[in-house]
Amino acid sequence: MPIEVVLLFAWMLVIAFLAFIACTFEDLESDMGSQSNPNSQVQLAAQVGQVNRFFNKAISGEPLSNAMYCVTAGTIAWLLLRQFEPLVPGEEWKAAVLAIPIGVLAATMMNVIFATTAHCGRVAGQKRFEQPIYLDVLYGHLMPIGAHAFMTTFCITVIAYIQSNLGTLSGNTALNHPFALPLLGFIWGITVGAIGSSTGDVHYGTEREFQDRPFGEGKRVVYHGKITRYAECGVRTQKDIAGFCAKFGGPCTGLTFGLIILFENWRSMVGMQLGGFLPALPVFTATGDMAAIFAIVLGLLIVAALMVGNLVFVKWVRKKYGPFVGV
């Protein structure tokens, strides 16, 4: 296999690892700031009389907010790359090393601004439930939220950069993705948010938010709103929560996104390799169809494997856990 093809597959693996890290930190950032679905419980808690010291970061849903950070980072990085790349012809990665962190820094500032307005606005709207704004909660959580968001957005921006410059990095510009950097940031921002919201929030919402309820049951409707407010180190804040969820929820979510990116990009690459495409990319010949067909067949195999896996897994869980016991 020629070296360009090996390089392509190597970049695929780099992207998959970065995706793993990105989604782990995305889930932790949404646990650190209590965003999206479990946040409805934090909102409800004050309304049922449980004054709490949680950070009520209500910035819409995770897909949209992560899309915003990643697009901001992507746009500013892209603008800076436009200015810097003509200065270092032949070694564009030097421009990227400078441009990407600055863009991500701007996105982190956006995150902190929106988090502040969300928390203050929501608590001010709960005046009649006697929920105060705790200034130490407000100031003490902005830095961790920003740090986690930096990691997520950094990884996603690097993924978008690699994907939009894949051809340039490995020698054949036709392999660059047709979408521009900000648009790729948008796409992966929404995806990472959707995954973090559907997978990682379960660990926070079902397990950690109601820690004093028995393990092994879904949380009943009568529990809603009565979140755990007193915990191991006194009154619970988000900093206690993120540390717990980092043990299981975070890596699980990261694994999900890493697998998805691996399957997506790797499928297309393998299809192109089997279709005899690489390293040069012919345009619209009959072999183009074959490459796509290989990729589709691979996709079908993956879906079938997952479905069988789910069947086996659910059966195993039912056997191991047995019917519900207790009241």
Binding site: N52, A58, S60, A67, V71, R122, K127, I133, P182
Partner: protein
């Protein structure tokens, strides 16, 4: 144990008079003024970017009002969905407007762009009929048709104004080159979504007050102006040179600083208590 709350009783009056700035508080008048001014500004593409920024601000205030009116009744799926809907309509309407604009062009004036705005208003109204009608989705939200029409129009105006800021004109080929192919349309899309949905979503609660919510909308517009100014400098398409982009950034920063401070102060004054730290209580 608890620190005495920082709020003083007479502060209740002070926020009210400083906050409603220059605009009449009523929603229909707000919509009319914003719509007319923004529509006029979008025709004259040769204006400096700061004036277009003001038009953008008004369009967002209009959109935010619509979102707020609709979401107050409970959408079932949450506030963000209607903001995304508005922006989706906005992109399709902008496409239509830009395509038609070539025909009505008079030098640097593009009056035919408003055709796109009006068509999107019609589509918004029709989708509102479908969403609210008894035989269809039947959401039973009063005046949903009018709200969706306003959202369609506000979204389209916002995207058109932003495209004209970034491109300096509204000719279709230039806009596609500068806005769509470069991926900046994604930036416009997501920030338009946020400018319309974040104010109400962030201030959700039984004690939400319209003046406070509007401050958030203005503050987000300030942020957008900063980003657009940076993009303008990067793209280099303005007929006024780099001064245009810099002036837009300065305008954005000033608007953001003023309204962010106003909002946080208003929140801290109007919430139940602002304490440095303290224990929590349970109210049965």
């Amino acid at each position: 144990m608890t620190v005495t709350p920082a709020v003083v009783e007479e502060e209740e009056e002070a926020p009210k008079k400083g906050l409603s700035f220059k605009f009449p508080p009523e929603e229909t008048e707000m919509g009319l003024i914003a719509g007319i001014i923004a529509a006029v500004i979008v025709i004259f593409t040769g204006l400096p970017a700061v004036i277009k920024g003001v038009g953008l601000l008004l369009a967002f205030l209009w959109g935010m009002d619509s979102v707020r009116k609709t979401s107050k009744y409970g959408l079932g799926t949450g506030v963000p969905s209607i903001g995304v809907l508005a922006t989706g309509y906005g992109v399709v309407g902008a496409l239509m407007g830009l395509a038609v604009a070539e025909y009505g062009r008079v030098g640097q004036l593009y009056p035919a762009v408003l055709v796109g705005v009006i068509i999107m208003g019609i589509i918004g109204y029709i989708s509102g009929i479908f969403a609210n009608g008894e035989k269809f989705i039947a959401m039973k939200i009063p005046r949903l048709e009018r709200a969706m029409m306003e959202l369609g129009m506000a979204g389209t105006l916002a995207i058109l104004l932003e495209s004209s800021i970034l491109t300096g004109s509204l000719s279709f080929a230039a806009v596609v080159d500068n806005v769509m192919n470069t991926g900046l349309i994604a930036l416009l899309f997501i920030f338009n979504c946020f400018a319309m949905l974040h104010p109400y979503n962030a201030c959700l609660g039984p004690d939400e007050r319209r003046e406070r919510t509007r401050m958030v909308a203005v503050e987000i517009s300030g942020l957008i102006c900063v980003l657009l100014g940076l993009a303008m400098i990067g793209l280099g398409t303005s007929p006024y040179g780099i001064l245009d982009g810099v002036s837009l950034i300065v305008f954005g920063v000033i608007v953001w600083v003023v309204f962010f401070r106003m909002f946080i102060k208003a929140c801290m004054d109007e919430c139940y208590a602002t304490v440095g730290t303290g224990m929590i209580k349970t109210i049965e």
